[in-house]
């Protein structure tokens, strides 16, 4: 069974601080996605990483896929209160269905 473990599960920081969220597995994933979910809403896709070692930037967010495609990280620079939410990593599994396997999520609270 493929699993994705996210850390930390909860993070509370002050506005302006930097943070990193990790998503780790012992399995290889063909691609990995990061989603952000706000209270009362569904997850929204932020990025898809495909190639080992790939780095993608989305304004203040930097996403990295591990060289072996088993892990990923999300780094936020100068966090803002609007970054508050639940961050989910999800990988396309190796089963023939390619279903998405989600990590348990990281709840981020950015205080003003």
């Amino acid at each position: 069974t493929q699993l994705l473990e996210q850390s930390p599960q909860f993070l509370s920081i002050q506005e302006g601080e930097n943070l990193t969220v990790y998503c780790n597995s012992s399995s290889v994933f063909s691609s990995l996605q990061w989603y952000r979910q706000e209270p009362g809403e569904g997850p929204v896709l932020l990025v898809t990483v495909v190639t080992g070692g790939e780095v993608k930037k989305l304004k203040r967010l930097t996403f990295q896929f591990g060289d072996a495609r088993k892990d990923s990280s999300l780094h936020i620079t100068a966090a803002q209160t609007g970054d508050t939410g639940l961050y989910l990593c999800a990988g396309h599994g190796s089963s023939n269905t390619g279903k998405l396997i989600f990590g348990q999520g990281t709840t981020l609270q950015v205080k003003p």
């Binding site: 997850p43 989910l88 999800a90 989600f102 999520g105």
Partner: protein, 118 residues
């Protein structure tokens, strides 16, 4: 012009009842999904349909029965509701099924249906 919509938003019901959740997408996608998010925010796939054909059927009690009358709709019917069914249920859609390459299977999620079984 909501892309993926679900009804109802909230559903409170008694144990043993039968209930349905409806989902519609207006994105022209071929694939639709049902996910369950538990109280710890863990999101897990339940079912997926591609062009009205069931392609993913996870280990879900057979009290849960999805129905796809057409590509734009995927409904979820739940029989004999139990306390453990309480969760948020999300519908999602994507252009392609998840096993058809990397791109084209970005999933768009609905706003969720919070089911509470008393």
């Amino acid at each position: 012009d909501t892309a993926v919509s679900q009804t109802p938003k909230y559903l409170v019901t008694q144990m043993g009842n039968d209930k349905s959740i409806k989902c519609e997408q207006n994105l022209g996608h071929d694939t639709m999904y049902w996910y369950k998010q538990d109280s710890k925010k863990f999101l897990k796939i339940m079912f997926s349909y591609n062009n009205k054909e069931l392609i993913i059927n996870e280990t879900v009690p057979n009290r849960f029965s999805p129905k796809s009358p057409d590509k734009a709709h995927l409904n979820l019917h739940i029989n004999s509701l139990e306390l453990g069914d309480s969760a948020v249920y999300f519908c999602a859609s994507s252009q392609d099924p998840p096993n058809r390459g990397v791109y084209g299977n970005e999933q768009f999620f609905g706003p969720g249906t919070r089911l509470t079984v008393l």
